[in-house]
Symmetry: C3
Subunit: 340 residues, 3 copies
């Protein structure tokens, strides 16, 4: 189903240095340990170097160092994982391009759908919405009033875009994504809470990928903004008026509270939290399950998770955490006494 | 599209004290820094006081203190944020009221749908379900057998109500919400796990808002209960037989385990966890990413997150956490020696 | 609506030891405190023993110890909770079996749907997909190309199965579940990130239950695997190439990062995190909100959450956490001085 290329053709298209027989024909990618004839494998993690001698792959993608003593035809590159991604993209079967509006879709006459876009069965496109060229609105997606989907973007299935949100070009939104639901705005009233109307929208840039069941809320007065090239994993919550800088990647189950501003090229690991109204500068890495409780102004790596232990050990130490201030004071006291 | 009011009319309807020209006409709300003519802005956070002198808003919502020396027409109030919410609600364009059953909806003949309710395209209403007056069942929602939706409630889109769940009046359920899926009930069996039937339901009170992709499970034998005025943000998990007291607000990604009972007027921040079978009294605040591991019997603020640090600093301290009990013992030993 | 059994019949079918009048007729299960005539209640938690004397249940499920001095007809068993689950399953009204393809479903002519399977309104079954005998594809579910659903499995509503994923027999997938969305695979490129094609699939075994809005990503090159009898609660994220061993149970909001391998019969509590590329052996229990940051090779219980405290206490101790390494060094210094 997929394409077939010679190794020389792959080198020409993907940019690696060809070593060995450029005429070998390749039809797919595989892991180095499970590859078979006709496939090209890659080596990025030294842990897998042991399979170099025995792999049945027809060709390899390798760093210069790993290439020494390797007899197989290869592409040599300083970044084998990236090269692998390019090769895999070339070799992978393209999902069939679909176009037209499925008879079981519901497109409002006041919506604009590009002639070569696709709207799948059960999908709704409401009045004033715009679906760009080659965009794909999968089964059971809901695109509400005046929402816009840019050229070549794909809503896989059961994605909801609320009224007026704008998605850039070449976006990929996985099933269950919700963009533009009301932000969590409530004002204390005598009787309980009074809802604060959420009048902003959401602007999502170009080349953004958003994972399954992730939610991005609309702004309260101004917009929530996801800049170009941002990659969001599954089950992430992005609150109202957050801004996520270009090319930042965030892993699953992370929660970003309202009005937080995250810089460009940041990497935030899974299960993390970002407090509202703080700012994270460019090029910051946050490790898993860390609560970013205040602004970060210096690039670097930040952490705040507790180390795991066997439960009995953890219990003993954990109890002491609640005595930590007292312990610190007693240490200072003793130091004073010892000094006197 | 929205309404237009004079400042005097807003004062009369929203209850603030009018100061300056009551005849100024207002068509919308805006942030103080980006407001333009015809809009009313508010000042609640002292951080934004600097924009008072230069704002282009036609009127302001201010506290008595901030109003001193402000030349613009204004509404004076002790709670500008609440007043803003009321004004914004008046000025915001109402979503158009829709009524009737869309031809692409699927309503079982044994369901009851109020004449002025709306059932959107792709929505399903199964046998025995009841949709109240002016309620709105958005596109692709599923209302299963015998589920009830109260007067004026709105299921935005792709919301699922499982069989028999009951939603009160004026509820707002955002896309992807699931109410009444089976609770996580499993009994150890030799071969693995035996499913415990989940025979209870879910009762949601009046004036409840539930954020995108939040889930509330049905009870095992009795019901899971969300009382009046509760506000739930996105991506929250409420397990079976939980009870959440009136006017409690819970932020995104928090997980409430089975049979936990949460009091009234509590505020639980994002990414928190509440252990099963415990009780939290009224008026408790829990800060972000705190695990409520035991019952709370006194109102107040509770915390349990680890402070973030640069990764090298964090690593040094984190390693010591696992020695904490030993450190505490050694401190006590030394104190004893010093005393002797 | 449900079935009616005598206590003797329940004993015969569910395996408990009958004590007292086996002829009492039972139509339902109830909690011991709220039971009425015609119902059978169980006692598993000693906390509820106080209701033994006053319960209005017609029969009870009890341990040998609790049965002493109990006058009501009873089933005696070493595991009352399991016995209750069996009895409740017998007595609970079966959801009505439905079959056939609803006229508002969209089944591709190249899909195969068993004659006694059900495809509900708004559900999509794409080309090459296979729906097994007695399987049930609820309203608004999407079963993409070549996906397979085994015999007797049930997708409740609005479940999405991406292309090629395979679900075993007797699975129960709750609303909003997404199986087989792309894993979070991105390679650093000069301009930002390059998407790594996700070419693997997801294989889900037999007797698996997956909670509302849980997501399981497809593998990068090989498959993500959920073995037989695994039980996943709501809002869980399972990343690409994870393997979860048979009969493991995972509670809500837990995140499992890519390529993690989890053993058999593990129990992972809610809000936990599992780091990528690590291994957890069989029979491990992880407590709530613990980050499993490295492999676990010994069965047992593991923890890593911070204890909750009142906010002022917590603040004092929390500040000291950042001095922990310094405190430890100072303690060692003093010990040395005292020894000298």
């Amino acid at each position: 189903m997929g394409a077939e290329y010679t190794l020389a053709e792959l080198a020409a298209r993907c940019g690696g240095e060809l070593r060995g027989d450029g005429g070998v024909r390749l039809r797919g990618v595989a892991t180095i340990q499970n590859a078979g004839p006709g496939s090209i494998a890659f080596l990025a993690n030294p842990h897998y170097r042991k399979f170099l001698a025995t792999t049945r792959a027809s060709a390899l993608i390798l760093s210069e160092t790993d290439a020494e003593g390797c007899a197989l035809p290869a592409l040599i590159t300083s970044n084998p994982y990236l090269m692998y991604a390019r090769v895999a993209t070339l070799l992978a079967p393209e999902p069939p391009a679909r176009r037209g509006v499925h008879p079981a879709a519901h497109v409002d006459p006041k919506a604009r759908v590009a002639a070569d876009a696709w709207v799948g069965p059960g999908a709704m496109v409401e009045a004033g919405a715009e679906i760009g060229a080659r965009a794909s609105i999968g089964p059971n997606c809901v695109v509400m009033e005046r929402a816009k989907v840019g050229e070549g973007s794909r809503l896989v299935a059961s994605v909801t875009l609320c009224h007026g949100v704008e998605i850039g070009r070449r976006a990929l939104l996985h099933p269950g994504v919700v963009i533009g639901a009301d932000g969590f705005g409530i004002a204390r009233d005598k009787a309980g809470w009074f809802k604060v109307p959420q009048l902003g929208s959401v602007k999502v840039g170009d080349d953004v990928e958003i994972g399954a069941n992730t939610t991005v809320d609309r702004g309260a007065l101004e917009d929530t903004v996801i800049e170009d090239g941002v990659k969001l994993d599954n089950q992430i919550q992005v609150a109202h008026n957050v801004r996520i800088g270009a090319h930042t990647a965030i892993a699953g189950c992370t929660a970003i509270a309202g009005s937080a501003v995250i810089g460009k090229r940041c990497m935030i690991a899974g299960g993390a939290g970002v407090t509202g109204h703080i700012e994270i500068c460019d090029d910051v890495t946050v490790t898993a399950m860390t609560l970013v409780s205040h602004s970060i102004t210096e690039p670097g790596v930040y952490s705040g998770s507790l180390p795991m232990d066997s439960a009995p050990q953890w219990r003993k130490n954990s109890v002491r955490f609640r005595q930590l201030d007292s312990i610190a004071r007693r240490v200072a006291d003793m130091e004073k006494k010892l000094k006197d």
